[in-house]
C-alpha cells in the first residue's frame, strides 16, 4: 500500500507534513535517521506510522515523564491499545507485569533510567524490535542543561551489530549537538533531515520600554484592541496571576497558568483554550508542551526568555495552522538581569559541590540532597554525573563554564533585542542555518504592520454562561441543551 493510504487508514490525515515522508521512507529502508523538526511539525508521526507497518515493537526512549504520558494519551486517542509507558510511575508489581508482556506491545515508551535496569535489558535482549527512537535527542549532549547522563549509555545498550535502525528526534540543535548525537548513539551514516527553523508565517516584532510597569499597560491596551487567541509568557508565577487578573478586570477572557496550579485547573485551562472559550493564557514556560492548538495568533513575551531555544519553542506555538501570526517581544531596561537569574537558577554551584562532598564523607547518599531541598532534580543529575567523572576542582571548572554559557545565552537573546538588523535572520543563523527569503512583514527591522497580521478586537460582552447548576448537571450527563 502507498504510504499516503496508510496514513489515512491509521491516522485519518490526507497528506504528510514536510519531512515526515522522507524520514519514514528511510526508516523503512532500514537506515538510521536524524531528524530535526520544529515543534508542532508532527515529529511523533515519524515513528507512529512505521509502528503499523512493521510487525515488531517500536521502542521510544523519552526523557520526560509528562511528555511520555502525553504521547501515550495521543496514541490512545487513535484507539491504540498496545501502547505502554515504562517509567518510575509504575510500582514493582506493575513493572514486572509490563516487562513480562513487553513483546506484545506495538509502542513501548521508556525512560532512560528504566532502560538501564537489568530486568528490562534482559527482556529487551530476547525481543526483536523494529525501530529504536531517541526522542529529544539533544539531551545526550553535555553542552546543554537538558543533559541526561543516562542518554550517554543508550549507545552502549542498544549498540549491537544487528540492531534495528535508530531514529533520533529533536526540535532544534546546534552543529555541536548534532555531532554529539551521532557519536554517542553510534549512528551508521544516518540520513539527516534538517528542517529550516524559520517559520515564515510567524512575524517577529519587539517593543522597548523605559519602565517595567509600562509593559503591563501596553499588554492591557494591546489585548483590548486586538484579537487572540494568544499566549503571554512571563517569568514568575506571581506575574501570571497579576497580569491575568488585570485582564479579567478589563473584561477579557484570560487565565493564569503555571506549575503551581492544581492538575484539574491546568486541564480546564487547556480545554477552554482549545475549544475557544478562553482567549488568553498568561503563563510561565510551564505551558505549552502537549498543547496542540492550531490557531494561536499571538505569542507575547512580557519578559525576555533565558535562551534562544526557549524563545524558538515558545513562539513556535503560534500559527501552527500556517496562517499569519505574530510574536511580540517586550523589553524594559534591566530585564536581562532577571533572565540571567532564571537562567542559572537551577544550575549547581560551589556550595552544592561542598554539600555533595559532605554527604560522601558522612557516607550518606548524595541523592538525599534532593529530598532535603538542597538542590533541584535537574541540578542534581548534572552535578552527580560530573562528580563521578572528575575531581572536585575540575567539576568546579565545568560548572563555571556551564554558568558562563548560560549567561552567554542571555546575551544571545539580548542581541535580538538590541539589533537593528533582521530578527529572523539572526534567529535562523543562531541555529546554524541560512535564511533563504524574508517574508512580507518580516520583523521590526525589515518593517512590519501589525494591522495586516492581527485583527482588531470585536467588542463582545463577556458574561460567563449563567447556567444553573441543575442545567449544568443535565448538560454533562444528558448532553445537547
Amino acid at each position: 500500500m502507498q504510504l499516503e493510504a496508510l496514513l489515512e487508514k491509521y491516522f485519518g490525515y490526507t497528506s504528510f507534513r514536510p519531512g515526515q515522508k522522507e524520514v519514514i521512507e528511510q526508516i523503512l529502508m532500514g537506515n538510521d535517521v536524524l531528524a530535526l523538526l520544529p515543534t508542532g511539525m508532527g515529529k511523533s508521526l515519524c515513528y507512529q506510522l512505521p509502528g503499523y507497518i512493521f510487525n515488531k515493537p517500536v521502542l521510544i526512549i523519552s526523557p520526560l515523564l509528562s511528555l511520555m504520558q502525553d504521547q501515550v494519551d495521543q496514541l490512545k486517542q487513535f484507539k491504540e491499545k498496545r501502547v505502554v509507558a515504562l517509567n518510575s510511575f509504575l510500582n514493582a508489581h506493575q513493572k514486572r507485569n509490563v516487562v513480562q508482556a513487553l513483546h506484545h506491545y506495538r509502542f513501548i515508551f521508556i525512560s532512560p533510567e528504566m532502560l538501564m535496569q537489568q530486568q528490562v535489558l534482559q527482556k529487551l535482549n530476547t525481543m526483536e524490535l523494529s525501530l529504536i527512537v531517541v526522542d529529544e535527542a539533544h539531551c545526550i549532549s553535555q553542552w546543554g542543561f537538558d543533559f541526561r547522563p543516562d542518554y550517554l549509555r543508550i549507545g552502549e545498550v542498544v549498540g549491537n551489530d544487528n540492531r534495528p535502525p535508530i531514529l533520533a528526534l529533536s526540535a532544534t540543535a546546534t552543529d555541536k549537538v548534532v555531532g554529539d548525537i551521532k557519536d554517542y548513539l553510534k549512528m551508521k551514516e544516518p540520513f539527516e533531515y534538517i528542517h529550516s527553523v524559520d517559520r515564515p508565517n510567524i512575524h517577529l516584532t519587539k517593543f522597548m520600554f523605559y519602565d517595567r510597569e509600562d509593559k503591563i499597560d501596553w499588554i492591557l491596551r494591546h489585548t483590548t484592541e486586538t484579537e487572540g487567541p494568544g499566549i503571554i509568557y512571563t517569568q514568575s508565577r506571581t506575574k501570571t496571576e497579576m497580569i491575568s487578573e488585570k485582564m479579567l478586570q478589563a473584561g477579557l477572557s484570560a487565565a493564569a497558568y503555571h506549575g503551581g496550579k492544581d492538575t484539574l485547573d491546568r486541564q480546564f485551562i487547556q480545554q477552554q483554550f482549545i475549544n475557544g472559550s478562553l482567549e488568553w493564557i498568561v503563563a510561565t514556560n510551564a505551558f505549552g508542551m502537549g498543547v496542540h492548538k492550531q490557531n494561536v495568533r499571538q505569542v507575547i513575551h512580557e519578559s525576555i526568555p533565558s535562551n534562544m531555544a526557549n524563545y524558538m519553542q515558545e513562539i513556535g506555538r503560534a500559527g501552527r495552522d500556517g496562517k499569519d501570526a505574530v510574536a511580540i517581544l517586550l523589553y524594559a531596561e534591566g530585564d536581562e538581569d532577571f533572565a540571567r537569574f532564571i537562567g542559572i537558577d537551577e544550575l549547581p554551584n560551589e556550595v552544592h559541590i561542598e554539600i555533595y562532598d559532605n554527604y560522601k564523607v558522612r557516607n550518606e547518599p548524595p541523592s538525599n540532597m534532593i529530598n532535603n531541598g538542597e538542590i533541584s532534580e535537574t541540578g542534581f543529575r548534572v552535578l552527580n554525573y560530573w562528580m563521578n567523572q572528575l575531581s572536585t576542582n575540575e567539576v568546579k571548572n565545568v560548572l563555571q563554564n556551564m554558568k558562563n554559557e548560560k549567561l552567554q545565552e542571555v546575551n544571545e537573546v539580548m542581541r535580538i533585542v538590541k539589533t537593528s538588523q533582521c530578527m529572523r535572520k539572526m534567529l535562523v543563523q543562531y541555529f546554524g542555518q541560512n535564511l533563504e527569503k524574508n517574508p512580507d512583514n518580516c520583523c521590526s527591522a525589515c518593517g512590519i504592520s501589525l494591522q495586516e497580521i492581527i485583527n482588531p478586537r470585536q467588542q463582545v460582552e463577556l458574561g460567563h454562561d449563567e447556567m444553573s447548576w441543575q442545567k449544568r448537571i443535565e448538560k454533562l450527563l444528558i448532553g445537547n441543551l
Binding site: D73, K76, Q77, L264, H464, W469, K475, L476, G479
Partner: protein
C-alpha cells in the same frame, strides 16, 4: 476573608490557651495526641483537617494580616491574645472535617471521572484523556462503571436524578452548589478554574476552595445519611466517611479495652507506656459518644471539674489539677474529652 474568619473562630475557641501554631496543625489535621485532644477539649471537630495541604507560608501570611488588622497580638513565646476588635462573623460554614479529613477529594475525583466518562459516552466519544491521573481512582471508576452497566445508558439519568435531588436537599447556599458543579467537566464542557470562580464570586481563591470543601462535606452528609435514597452516589462515597475516627494504634488499644482488658494489661500486651494507652482511651471517649467515662471518675467528681472550669474560666489541665489535686490528669482529660460541657 472566610479564611481569616475561620482562624478567628478557632482562636476564640482555643481561649488563648494554645500557641499561635495550634490552628495550623488543626487545619492540616495533624495526628498528634495534642492536636487530637484539643479537638475534643475545645470542640473543634468540624475544622479538623479541612486543609491538609495548607503551607506554613500561606498560614503565616494570614496570621500577619490578622495582627496588622489588630484582631490578635502575639508574643515571642508563641502565645497569642485576642484583641477587642471583632471580625465580622460568617456564621458556621458546614465543615465536617473530623469525619472526612481530606477524603472529600477522593469522592470528588471519582465523581468527576465518572461524569467525564458518561458525558463522552453519551456523545459517542469513546476515547478521551482522563481528567483524573491517579491510577487508583481510574481503576475504581472503571469498576464502578462496569458494575453499573454503563453501556446500557440508564445510569446517566439515575445519576443525574440523584445528584440534583441530593443537592437540593443539602442546606448550603446555591452559589456553593454551583461552585461544586462548575468543577466538573465533560464532552465539550470545560470546568472552571479556581481563578475563574474567584472572579465570578468576587472572593479570594482560598475562600472559594473553603466554600467548596464545606459544600462537599455537607453534600456527603446528606448522601450518606440517606443511603437508600441515593444508591449510586452512596457507592461513590464508599469508604470516604470515617465513622469511628481513631488512629491505627489507638484503634488497637481500644479494641482490647472493649474486650475487657485493663489499661495495665493492654500496656503489657502492646508493650506501650501506660500514658500512651490512656491517650488512646481519651481519644475513644472523645470519639464515641456512648462510651461511659464514669468507669474512671465518679459523677460527683465530674461535676467538680465542670464547676472548676466555670469558676476559673479555663480548660488548662495544669490549673485544674492545682484546684482539684485529688484527681489524676487522666481523669481530668476524660472530662474535658467529653467536650459538650
Amino acid at each position: 476573608m472566610i479564611f481569616q474568619q475561620i482562624l478567628m473562630q478557632i482562636f476564640h475557641k482555643l481561649n488563648q490557651e494554645r500557641t499561635i501554631s495550634a490552628p495550623f496543625h488543626l487545619l492540616r489535621g495533624k495526628r498528634s495526641g495534642q492536636t487530637i485532644q484539643d479537638v475534643g477539649i475545645y470542640q473543634l471537630h468540624h475544622f479538623f483537617g479541612i486543609l491538609p495541604k495548607l503551607s506554613r507560608k500561606k498560614y503565616d501570611e494570614e496570621i500577619s494580616l490578622l495582627i496588622e488588622k489588630q484582631f490578635i497580638r502575639t508574643d515571642e513565646a508563641g502565645s497569642y491574645e485576642l484583641m477587642n476588635n471583632h471580625i465580622e462573623d460568617i456564621g458556621n460554614l458546614p465543615f465536617d472535617g473530623w469525619h472526612y479529613r481530606g477524603n472529600e477529594h477522593v469522592f470528588f475525583a471519582r465523581l468527576s471521572l465518572i461524569i467525564q466518562s458518561l458525558s463522552h459516552k453519551k456523545a459517542g466519544q469513546m476515547s478521551f484523556i482522563p481528567i483524573q491521573k491517579d491510577e487508583v481512582i481510574q481503576q475504581w471508576v472503571k469498576n464502578f462503571l462496569l458494575i453499573n452497566n454503563f453501556q446500557e445508558g440508564t445510569i446517566h439519568e439515575q445519576l443525574m436524578a440523584e445528584m440534583i435531588h441530593s443537592l437540593e436537599n443539602t442546606h448550603i447556599e446555591e452559589k456553593v452548589k454551583s461552585i461544586i458543579i462548575n468543577r466538573l467537566a465533560g464532552y465539550e464542557v470545560a470546568g472552571f478554574t479556581w481563578q475563574q470562580l474567584s472572579f465570578i464570586e468576587k472572593v479570594s481563591e482560598m475562600d472559594i476552595q473553603l466554600l467548596y470543601i464545606a459544600g462537599l462535606h455537607s453534600w456527603l452528609n446528606s448522601i450518606t445519611s440517606q443511603a437508600e435514597q441515593y444508591p449510586l452516589l452512596n457507592n461513590v462515597a464508599q469508604n470516604v466517611r470515617i465513622n469511628i475516627p481513631l488512629t491505627g494504634s489507638a484503634f488497637q488499644s481500644t479494641q482490647l479495652f472493649l474486650q475487657g482488658y485493663s489499661i495495665e494489661q493492654i500496656s503489657k500486651i502492646r508493650g506501650l507506656k501506660i500514658s500512651t494507652i490512656e491517650d488512646h482511651i481519651v481519644e475513644l471517649a472523645m470519639n464515641e459518644p456512648h462510651f461511659s467515662i464514669e468507669q474512671f471518675i465518679s459523677g460527683r467528681d465530674v461535676q467538680l471539674v465542670l464547676n472548676a472550669i466555670e469558676d476559673y474560666n479555663t480548660k488548662k489541665l495544669k490549673v485544674l489539677h492545682e484546684v482539684l489535686p485529688h484527681l489524676t490528669y487522666f481523669q481530668l482529660r476524660l472530662v474535658l474529652a467529653r467536650g459538650d460541657l
